[in-house]
Structure formats: structure tokens, C-alpha cells
Symmetry: C2
Subunit: 101 residues, 2 copies
């Protein structure tokens, strides 16, 4: 089922404007994971992750599929990786002097 809403740019970007969600994205970039796996890896409580993942799903930034009892989330790489690449480039070009983490 694909009929999600991505109303407007700023709704989409709210997902990227949040450290936890960026953490989730970074983790899913490495490999698809269940909620509990993310919870252990990131040291974050389960319901917090579920709430965040619901937002990410809402704008199709992640996909999920049921695997036994677990639900495995994966990243929509086609959209996200190019964006991250642009940001990295931006930081090198225009933020030369700043404290990158």
C-alpha cells in the first residue's frame, strides 16, 4: 500500500531535522533491521523508535516488511542517499571551517 501523504516539502524534511531519525537512517543505511535490533544498537527505547519509524514510513523514507514476529525496516536508499551526498558536498564546499562530527 503506497498511498502515503507527503503533503509538503517541510513535512518531508522534518524527518531529517531530527537527530534520532538521522540515527535511524544512518543505521538502516548499513543494514535493514527490526525495531528491537535498532533499539539495542542505538540504545533507544522501543516505543520511541516505533513513533519515529511511523513518521519515516509516512513519507516513504523507509519501507517495512513482516518477517515472522519481527518487522524489518529498510531504507529508501533511492531518495536518501543522493540527499546525503549533496549535504556532504555542501559541507565541504561551504562549511570548510566548521566542526564536522
Amino acid at each position: 500500500m503506497k498511498n502515503v501523504h507527503c503533503d509538503n516539502y517541510h513535512i518531508f524534511f522534518k524527518n531529517l531535522a531530527n537527530p534520532l531519525k538521522i540515527g535511524i537512517i544512518a543505521s538502516l543505511k548499513e543494514k535493514p533491521s527490526s525495531v528491537n535490533e535498532l533499539s539495542e544498537k542505538l540504545g533507544v527505547e522501543q516505543s520511541k523508535l516505533s513513533h519515529s519509524l511511523a513518521n519515516l514510513r509516512f513519507c516513504s523514507l523507509v519501507n517495512s516488511k513482516q518477517v515472522g514476529k519481527k518487522r524489518v525496516y529498510s531504507l529508501n536508499k533511492k531518495t536518501i542517499l543522493p540527499i546525503l551526498r549533496i549535504i556532504d558536498k555542501h559541507r565541504q564546499a561551504d562549511c570548510a571551517g566548521c566542526k564536522l562530527k
Copy 2:
């Protein structure tokens, strides 16, 4: 002077996660403008714009130059236009059924 800070992804994206700032970006995409010009065009109070513009400048999403008494802001198109293009593509591919504005 270019030594601004763009600490982290989410700080950068906060600028895009805000309708007013998206409005500013959309307007500057058309043409560079002073604060007062933006104020009239967008129907938004001056100090509100100055605050927003300060954030946008902080992450080098806009540039500014003094022209007489006015300060003219312009868009960092090199970074922003590619991002907007990705989002548009994303909305067509993955948000086929949603209410686009």
C-alpha cells in the same frame, strides 16, 4: 567570511523543515531580494524574516551582500536546487497517491 557552522545533518535540515523558510527559499529561487522585499512579497513581518534568514545563513543556504542601505539575500542554488529536484522525484515515485500542493 565563510566559517559558519553546520554541525550536523539535522541542523541543516531544520531550515528545510519549516514552511516560512521554504517560502523564503522559493522566493529567492526566483530572484535575490532584500528583507523588505521579502516582507512585502510574502506578507511576513520583518523581524520574523531576519530571524529565519539568520538561520539560513548559518548553514550557508543563503548568501547576503550589502547594497546601499539594503542587504540583498540570494539562494545557494548549488546546494538547494538538487535537493528540491530529488524531493520532487521522490513524491512522484513514492507518493503517487498523495495530495500534492
